[in-house]
Every structure is written in C-alpha cells, then in structure tokens.
C-alpha cells in the first residue's frame, strides 16, 4: 500500500494578505475538513490536542509554519513555496491516477471474457496488446489443509459462533431487564393510582384525550376558570413515581394572610398553613398543596371583586390586599402575597381576631360552593336567552365586616353598662342585663347562613326600679341601614318618660341610657324616701347623703350618696376617713352633662324636702 501522505496548502499566509469573504472561507473549510454537522466537541478537542502530541508527519509542516511565523517571508518566496507544493500535489495525483487506471485495466481484462462493458473500459494500448478474454477466472480446488490449519479454522468458526451467541444473549438480557423495569413501573403506576383513589381523589380520563389521566383537586362548584384549573395531568417519572407537572411553580405560590393593624402597629396576624400530613406520599402532599393554592387564589379574587362592590362602606381593594376599617384606629388587612415567612412564634393581642377573619373567609367560600351545588342540582336551569347571565357574586367579606362592626358598636354600650352596674351595686342598687342575639334562622347549625342576615342584638336591662328596658342594636351593611342602628324601648315613670327612636349615633345612645338610668335612680330614691318618710336625713349642698331606714324596725337599710362630682351626677357611699371625718367614696358617674346633673339634683332636693315636710 502507498504510504498515506498529507498535503496542506498554507492558506493562512494568503488569507493574511488579502481579506476573503466568509463564504469562500467556509467553503474552503468544508472542502478540507468535511461538513460542519460532523464536527463534534470531541473531534475539535482532538484537533487541538493533535499538534501537541507532536505528530511526526506534521513536523515538517509545523516547522514550516513556525519558520513562517518566525521570519515573515516575502511574497515572492511564499508564492514559490505555494507553487512548489502545488506541483508536488499534482505529481502525486498523477501517480494515483496511473495506479487506478492500471488496476482498472487489469480488472477489465479479467472480466472482458464475459462483459461488453468491461471491454469498453480497457485502455486502447491494452486492447492492442492482448486479445479480449485473454484472462479466465478459474475456481481452484481447495488445497488439503494441514491438520494444524484445519484446527485453527475450526477454532475460528467456533469462536465466531460463540461470539454471536454471546451478543444475542446480551441483547436478550438487556431486553429482559428493560421489560422487567417496565413491568415494575407499570405495577407502581397502578398501585399509586389505586392509593390515590383510596384517598378520595377523583381520577378520570379526558373525553377528547383518551391517553391522559387527570386528577381533580379543585372544588367542583367553583367558577368555570377555577374548575378548569382544578385538574392536573398525572405523569410518571423515570423511577415510576407519579407526579403532577408544574409543582415547582406551586412552591412559590402566594399565600393569604390576615393582619390586624392598630394605629401604625400590626397587632395580629394569621396565615393559613397546610400542615404536611405524616405518612403520605409526595403526590398526595402535592395535590393538597395545589388544592390549597387554588382555593386561596379563588378566595382572594372573589373577595377582591366583592370589595370593589362594597367600596362605599370603606373597603379598599388593591392588587394584592383588601383593607377594611373596624374603628378609627383599627383596621383589618387581607393580603395575598408571595412572601412565605417562617412560622412566627411571636404572639400578638389580636391574633385571635385575625385567625377568626381568616378561617371565616375560608368557611364562607366553602359555604358558597355548597350553595351553588344545591342551586344547580335542585333547580331547573332557566331558559337560554341572548342576554348573558353574569356569574353570581360571592358574599364573603360582607358578613364578616358586618359582624365585626356590630361587635365593635356593642362593646362601648356593654362597657358603660358594666361601669354602671358595679357603681350601682356599691350603692346598693341592682342593675342586671343580659344580651341576646336575635336571628331569624330557626336552626342553630346553619350559622354561616345566619351570618349573612341582619344582625340584631337585644340587651335586656332590669333597672334598679325593677323596670324592664330593652336596647336593640342592629347592624346591616346593605340599604337601607348601611351601618348600625340603636333603639330602646320606651321608659316611663313618674320622673319622666324617655325613648330612643332608631339612630345611628352611639353618643345619642349613651346619652339616652344615662338619662333613663338617672331618672330611674331618682325614682328609686324617691320611692325610698316615701317609704321611710321623715327618716331620711337631708343636707343641702352638692352632696346628698341619703340613709334609708326601715319604717318599723328603725334599722338603717341602705345608705348612699348622690351628688355632683366633677359636674356629673354620681352615686357613692359614705365612708369614715382617717380622722373619722365623713368622706365620700364615689362609685360611678351617671349623667352625661353638667346641666342635666344639676337639674336632676335639684329635682331630688325638691322631692326630698317635699316628702320630709309632708
């Protein structure tokens, strides 16, 4: 065989002289090194490595290159070198051509006996020199091989055969392991599907895509968009475990957080957390997470829609939060953000309020879903019409705000009553009250339904004179009330009559309450005085110590002081001081304005003098 030769035309120097266009360069590279699609990383690495190994055949070229780089030659020398190389190349090509032609001649001569085509390929010189079909191929009988050679041949065939068997066995082995793993994957697939079903997840095939299996994790009766989102394809990974795609996005899902602000401080926060349940497979956990995320998204979107509707009652909706005020310095914020803060151990005062709001919101959405299901499955659909029916609005925030504001309004009333009660008790008078929530709902277990209604709380008071009084506080955020209304039943005694017609002012309410109580206490006092006639000792001035003595036994029954304290009517008891001088221990204030207190005291004074003179 001819030794392999490598011929390289030094194109770099030419390229260095005059810039060539990229297309020509690319063409040259393709011609010399082959197509680009055959270029692999490895081949490129090899090419880089090759010169470093110091291939002997390339040494002269390299040295030439290094020569070139060492001392830049003139154009004349470079051209000469190029021509020299070209001639060398041509000589070699001519050699090769010669050899190929002589081989062609030989083969043509051999085949010329049988084929006309072979005759045509013979060179004219050969045709003249040798007759056609001068060569005849002849099959020779195989020689008797020596024992040794026979054995070698036999060994060779045995070896070849065993090698092919080995190849086949390897192939079968790999196929069997593949099948085995496939079967394992299949059994794992069905096992996990069954466990998913047993945990209560609904699995179904899609009607239009028969091959994929989906699992439903969303609520069946949510709006169309959330119902579509509430299903996921079940896929199988390389290990045969089932998974739902898109889980990575779910990890960074936003969460719903309820915060209570008082002034500029956050005094309570609540974030609902789906606690991972022990002993459940990852898929189950993922589905729970996905369900939670979807539920949160729907809850916030629907609440935002509602918040925009009820902006008139002071609800502000922003892109990622809803805020509503409870009182002047207290507000509740429902935020939907991607901040997944760690579990804060810090406890706040209003955590309970926040968790109540958060949990109730969730319950309201579930209740709305349930209600939709009942409506859908028990009422025939209305006739189809051209006007599109908008999807019904959810009622989520309104009941909560309603309830909280109602509570907020009723607290000051109860606080005032508490003060009255304790102070009057010290004076020996009894004021009792009970609160009762009035609901139209007959059964007690449908509390969520009851939340949506008008809330009415009735405070039943038993005044010191045993007169019954009822105070009603009603809250409704829709027309016609748009807030809270207070009203009292009518009070009437010999000290005057009083009643509060429905009003939304809490000040008016407290004033009326004061008025009624003052009148009632006066009434009681008058009663005592009448019963004890002249027994009551009476001193003028701002403080009226009153001692009530039993008519028959002359035993003092009750002694208290009514007087003016800081301009307000107050009830207290008479105590002995350090220097055995009488001192008044005030129990509580009764009246709101100075003028009223003064006039009332005057009235009491007149009554007392009248009764003692008679």
């Amino acid at each position: 065989m001819a030794p392999s030769v490598s011929l390289t035309v030094p194109y770099e120097s030419v390229a260095a002289r005059k810039p060539r266009d990229l297309q020509a360069e690319v063409h040259q590279i393709v011609q010399q090194k082959g197509a680009f699609r055959k270029v692999t990383e490895r081949s490129l690495l090899d090419e880089i490595q090759k010169p470093k190994h110091g291939d002997t055949k390339d040494s002269d070229v390299e040295s030439d290159v290094s020569d070139e780089s060492d001392e830049p030659e003139t154009a004349q020398a470079a051209n000469e070198k190029l021509w020299q190389r070209r001639m060398e190349m041509q000589a070699r090509v001519a050699d090769a051509r010669n050899e190929a032609l002589s081989v062609l001649d030989a083969v043509s001569l051999a085949a010329s006996g049988h084929s006309a085509a072979a005759q045509a390929t013979m060179s004219p010189a050969l045709k003249q020199a040798v007759p056609k079909g001068g060569f005849r191929p002849k099959v020779t009988e195989p020689k008797d091989l020596s024992q040794n050679a026979k054995k070698r041949l036999q060994d060779l065939s045995v070896m070849t055969r065993s090698q092919s068997f080995q190849n086949a066995s390897e192939k079968f082995g790999s196929a069997s392991t593949r099948l085995e793993s496939e079967a394992q994957k299949q059994s794992k697939y069905w096992e996990q599907m069954a466990s998913l079903r047993s945990k209560g997840w609904q699995i179904s095939r899609l009607p239009h895509d028969n091959r994929s299996v989906v699992v439903h994790f969303g609520a069946a009766d949510s709006s169309q968009q959330y119902r579509d989102k509430g299903m996921a394809y079940i896929r199988q990974d390389e290990n045969g475990d089932l998974f739902i795609p898109g889980q990575a996005e779910m990890q960074t899902q936003k969460v719903l957080c309820v915060r209570v602000h008082r002034g500029f401080k956050t005094t309570g926060s609540f974030t609902y957390r789906q606690e991972p349940i022990e002993g459940h497979v990852k898929l189950h956990q993922d589905l729970l997470l996905a369900r939670e995320a979807l539920f949160m998204e729907e809850l916030f979107t629907e609440a935002s829609k509602e918040a925009r509707l009820i902006a008139n009652i002071g609800v502000q909706a922003r892109s990622s939060s809803i805020t509503f005020d409870l009182s002047e310095d207290c507000s509740v914020e429902v935020a939907y953000s991607s901040v997944r803060s760690g579990k804060s151990t810090q406890r706040h005062a209003d955590d309970e309020l926040a968790s109540m709001v958060g949990n109730t919101l969730r319950l309201m959405l579930v209740a709305e879903h349930q209600q939709r299901h009942v409506q859908r499955s028990q009422q025939a659909p209305p006739p189809m019409s051209q006007t599109l029916r908008p999807p019904p609005e959810y009622v989520l925030l309104r009941p909560i705000i309603n309830q909280l504001r109602h509570h907020q309004m009723i607290t000051p009333v109860l606080d005032v009553l508490k003060i009255y009660k304790s102070s009057l008790e010290q004076a020996g008078l009894h004021l009792t009250y009970t609160t009762e929530c009035i609901s139209n709902q007959a059964s007690t277990h449908l509390t969520l339904e009851a939340l949506k209604e008008l809330i009415t709380t009735e405070i039943k008071l038993k005044l010191p004179s045993e007169t019954l009084l009822s105070v009603k506080v009603r809250t409704h955020l829709s027309p016609p009330m748009f807030g809270t209304q207070f009203s009292t039943s009518g009070y009437s005694s010999e000290c005057g009559s009083c009643a509060l017609s429905p009003t939304s002012s809490i000040t008016a309410m407290l004033q009326t309450l004061n008025d009624i109580l003052s009148r009632d206490i006066s009434c009681v006092v008058l009663g005592f005085i009448r019963r004890t006639k002249n027994q009551a000792s009476w001193h003028g001035g701002d403080v009226y110590p009153i001692q009530l003595v039993h008519e028959e036994s002359n035993v003092p029954q009750l002694s208290f002081v009514i007087g003016c304290r800081e301009g307000k009517l107050a009830v207290g008891s008479l105590k002995e001081g350090v220097d055995s001088a009488p001192r008044v221990q005030w129990a509580g204030e009764l009246s709101a304005t100075q003028q009223e207190a003064r006039s009332l005291l005057d009235t009491i004074g007149t009554w007392i003098t009248e009764s003692s003179s008679s």
């Binding site: 009607p207 859908r376 028990q378 659909p381 189809m384 019409s385």
Partner: protein, 273 residues
C-alpha cells in the same frame, strides 16, 4: 318559548348504570321526579257543523271559499293540552330524613300521599317544526296554576278532560340542559271526575301498571330557549345538545324523535260536506 330536545331509549337493565354515568357527567345526584299528567282536549267551537259550505249557487263561489277558509282556521288550531302536576314533599328533606321518610338505600322519597303536595302547571306544546335540524324544535308554553279546582277550571276554559297518566323518573341538570330519564305508568280512571286531580286518591306507585311492559325508560335531553326565531340562540342550543349527544355516545344513542309521534293536534274528523 321554544324547546329543543333529543330522545334516547334506556333498557331497564341499563337504568342504574346510565344514572351513574349521568351523575358523573352532570356532577350531581339524580333528582327524583314524579308527575301526574292530565290530558285535555280543546272543544271544537260550537255551531261549527252548522256552517254549511255547499248549497249555494255558482255565483257564490267566492263566499264558499271564504267559508272554507274560516272553517279551516277554526278547526286547525285545536290541540291537546296538558295539566302537569309535580308531586313534591310538603316538608323539607331534612325533616323527612329525621322522620324516616327518606329511603336512603333507594335514594327516593318513601311514598306517603298525605305528606305530599302537587305543583300544577298548564302546558301547551306545539307539533315539532318540520325542519332538517338535528333536534326536535317546538313551541311551548308553561303557566303555573297555584290552586283551585283544576278540572272545573279547565272545563270552563274550554278544555275537555280526556285521560291521565303518571310519570316517574330522575332529572339531571347540566348547563342549560335538562336530562330527564323517565317512564310512564297508567293511572286508573277516577270514580268521580273531580277526584282526577286529587293525589290522595292515587294508588301507590307499585300498584300502577307500566305502559311499557319491558320496564324501559326514555331519556329526554331538553333545552328551553326564550325565542326560537333567533338563529344564534337556536344554534347555541343545538350545539350544546349535540355536544351532550357526543358525550353520551357510548351509553345511549340520542336522536330526534319522529315528528308526527309528537303531534299534539286533534285529528279533524273527516266530514263530508
């Protein structure tokens, strides 16, 4: 109002399976429905036969034509109408469950006629339109009757009582479609015509004879549309019905019924003039 419908037959042995499949498709539990249907016939206007078409002279041809037209008008608009009474429990389901009136195994109301009341409605259905649409389309009208003597009222209204029957079945609702799987039972003739509409006089369901002895059910898928003359609305309803047909393809074959089988016109007695 127009009604678009498709019909299919459900054999008795497939009934439970079909109900399960429908429950899956519609995502709801079947609603058990019992109905009494009273069939009435409109009376022909009195004195119609006294209108003589013939006997006139040749010159009166135009008058005769006029009389023919009038007669045609008076007779062609005569239809059978129905008074449909839906039997409902007079108590709420919760109370019924507490009172053990709810048979949980069969998921049906236990029959106790004293605990039931009827919601009546007057129903007029036209003969389906003769179009090449893939559904039956017909004009319908429903009017609720609150209370009163039904038969006497209808009589005064110009309708004559003909017959009555009883329908039992299950209803499903899906989007705008109502799917009603039902079968007909025969009701015995009441002794007194006034008792016809009284459910207390109706024997229990098990004693009523089925009209179809094979005990099969009819599946009827209906969509009501406000105005059948609006093409867009009609197309939407047809699309929805055909989608349902495609969904239920494996379970039951839905197809439009024979138009003349749903004919509600009173056949005109052929009289020789």
């Amino acid at each position: 109002m127009h009604e678009l419908s498709l019909y299919g037959a459900v054999p008795a042995e497939d009934h439970v399976q079909i109900l399960q499949q429908l429950a899956g498709v519609t995502r709801m539990q079947p609603q058990h429905v019992e109905e009494i249907h009273l069939v009435f016939k409109a009376r022909t206007p009195p004195g119609l036969e006294k209108v003589h078409g013939s006997g006139g002279s040749q010159g009166n041809q135009q008058q005769q034509n006029e009389i023919q037209r009038l007669k045609g008008m008076l007779q062609s608009g005569i239809y059978f109408v129905q008074l449909v009474g839906t039997i409902v429990a007079s108590q709420t389901p919760a109370e019924l469950q507490n009172g053990q009136l709810f048979d949980t195994e069969r998921n049906e109301l236990v029959e106790d006629r004293t605990q039931q009341k009827v919601n009546w409605r007057f129903e007029f259905k036209d003969t389906p339109e003769s179009t090449k649409q893939p559904t039956n389309t017909r004009l319908i009208s429903r009017t609720r009757f609150e209370d009163g003597e039904m038969i006497a009222f209808m009589d005064l209204f110009g309708f004559e009582y003909v017959n009555r029957y009883y329908i039992e079945g299950q209803k499903f609702y899906n989007q705008d479609t109502t799917i009603f799987v039902h079968r007909v039972r025969q009701l015995p003739t009441a002794d007194n015509i006034r008792d016809t509409s009284d459910i207390a006089k109706i024997p229990p369901r098990s004693e009523l004879q089925l009209l179809d002895p094979s005990e099969g059910f009819v599946l009827q898928a209906t969509i009501d549309i406000v105005d059948g003359n609006v093409q867009e609305l009609k197309d939407r309803a047809v699309r929805q019905l055909l989608a349902l047909k495609e969904t239920l393809k494996q379970a039951v074959t839905l197809a439009p019924a024979d138009r003349l089988a749903l004919d509600t016109r009173i056949p005109i007695p052929v009289r020789r003039i």
